[in-house]
Symmetry: C2
Subunit: 346 residues, 2 copies
């Protein structure tokens, strides 16, 4: 990888001529070229068909000149690889074929390594690493154990905060532990294979890290994250604990050293809390992309200024881009990030 890769240089805390930018869910429904493919194939078909996943991953990079591509996939493919398929429903979020709440349920999970059935992800990454310019980083990802277990124990999404996992933790901590062990093993397997197949870095999405109490998070979620950190020592792992970044301790953040944050607290706040040796990724409020070019520029610059000129900031939204964002608004965002840094350097 050449030293002009802004993304990788930022992960290494090196100074860069401008801030790198990518956007969560950048390969998604707001893109007409994505919708064109989506009209002909199901979400699952797109995820599992190497050519389609590859094409859709490349679309936003081509259109906007982003600094990273993230493999088009879903955190739930890992649960499918454990023997619990999912389907995406229109208004309700993902639904799993069944919930895993008893020893019998647990015994029904597949014992094969998850990587045995996720070859389509690794094939797509291999092709992508070939097709992408060397100055564009390639990202793999997985869900965090707590978040994946939240879906698995609940049996899908929840409108009441995924209570089943916290109930199981209390009533059968041994079974909770076994489920978390199995998932953690799967996450490590999946991330290692993605890195071996061409991913330059990986992101761990802990979407429901903000649901348990802080004590429960520390006792029941963190040790499994530590296991991932240990297994991937020397690799770049971005940890994105939605709704929880602001109450993590310095030690918890340094576990991975790269923290993706949502938009509710400022980057300046995070930088002050966690010191200069943590890489921060974020955190424009995705709602800003629904405004206009001038507001987008102003708010993007506010995020950049909040962080300040020190190295170690990857620009992103604080959450996924929404399907109704006009593509010229996304272009305005990319332009704003590019122009801010040029301005700064003058």
């Amino acid at each position: 990888m050449s030293s002009t890769n802004l993304f990788m240089d930022t992960l290494a805390l090196k100074p860069t001529p401008r801030r790198p930018i990518w956007v969560m869910r950048q390969a998604g429904r707001y893109l007409p070229e994505y919708r064109e493919i989506r009209a002909r194939y199901s979400f699952r078909e797109m995820v599992q068909t190497v050519d389609l996943a590859t094409e859709v991953t490349l679309q936003p990079v081509r259109r906007f000149g982003l600094d990273a591509a993230i493999i088009f996939s879903d955190i739930l493919v890992l649960l499918e690889a454990l023997g619990v398929p999912y389907r995406i429903t229109e208004n309700k979020g993902p639904v799993l074929d069944r919930a895993i709440r008893t020893e019998d349920d647990y015994a029904s999970l597949s014992e094969a390594p998850v990587s045995d059935s996720l070859g389509y992800v690794y094939s797509a990454l291999g092709i992508l690493r070939q097709e992408l310019p060397t100055d564009v980083a390639l990202l793999g990802f997985a869900g965090a154990p707590w978040t994946l277990a939240s879906y698995l124990i609940e049996g899908g999404s929840s409108t009441t905060g995924f209570p089943a996992i916290r109930a199981l933790l209390e009533t059968n901590p041994a079974l909770f532990g076994k489920i978390m062990d199995r998932i953690t093993e799967g996450v490590i397997d999946h991330l290692k294979n993605q890195l071996a197949s061409g991913a330059d870095a990986v992101q761990v999405f802990d979407s429901w890290a903000g649901m348990p109490t802080r004590d429960v998070f520390r006792q029941a979620a963190r040790p499994y994250l530590q296991r991932i950190a240990d297994a991937l020592d020397g690799e770049y792992v971005i940890f994105y604990p939605k709704g929880a970044g602001h109450w993590l301790t310095k030690e918890e953040v340094h576990q991975f050293g790269i923290l993706g944050v949502d938009w509710t607290h400022s980057l300046g706040y995070y930088r002050e809390h966690f010191g200069p040796d943590v890489v921060l990724q974020g955190n424009l409020d995705p709602a800003i992309l629904m405004t206009d070019a001038q507001t987008i520029r102003q708010e993007a610059w506010a995020v950049l200024d909040s962080h300040g000129p020190a190295p170690g900031h990857i620009f992103n939204l604080g959450h996924g881009i929404t399907p109704d964002v006009p593509t010229d608004h996304m272009m305005a965002l990319v332009d704003a990030v590019h122009e801010h840094s040029m301005e700064t350097l003058q």
Copy 2:
């Protein structure tokens, strides 16, 4: 009101022989006697029919001997009173008849005081205050302006964090302000009428207080809360800012002086942060009610112990009770709270 009303004494920061308890959504689907009525009437009919709303409000108080009753209603009745009806869909949360995003939309809102069309709430409260024993407090409620405006501008619920309100705030702050003014006026009108009709205290639900950045909350949501606090000076107003309690300043909390908190931070943490003169309400993780009697007792006591013996704690869940909770688990919770205090007093 007699001096043996544990709830009101606690609001006044007086010592009580045991901690008062009520539970958000206590009149709800987990109760067989509620489901029996719900099988025959729609949610709207139940809300708008005085006899039904009254009966359903009383059900959990009768069964569990709770220390407060909360009027069976919905925060969205206020938007309906402004001319924008809602319907509750099975999996998607509330949907409004239309979104309010332009000056024309705004002009279409009703100009009549909301209390003109919410008489059924006030009638039910009047009856309830007569029927309830004097040692049971009666609560009214309303949504906070930011939360109600989130629904109104979005046109219903949102799975992507209600981006429309934050976009409108940026692109048309004047219209945002007019909408917030109109809603705030309605909230004050509705709360005053509830208090005048028999409610001993009111709760302001700011369910989406955690969605904007802290700066946006301070600039765009807080001034309207202050207006409510000023208008209701001398009344008891419980402020429940879901997902935001932990980052409020002391000053923001003292605006109302009574803070309802979710379960993600401990009561001890809040008590330490906000000092002895704030009343705290909360905050057992609702998931615990899905476990078993022994765990419920242990975790309820942990909440009580986390707060400590000082006056000013109303026991509650950190969020609404979920529909799948067995009634004997709820009974175990009430027993645990009662017994803890007896134990403490021995």
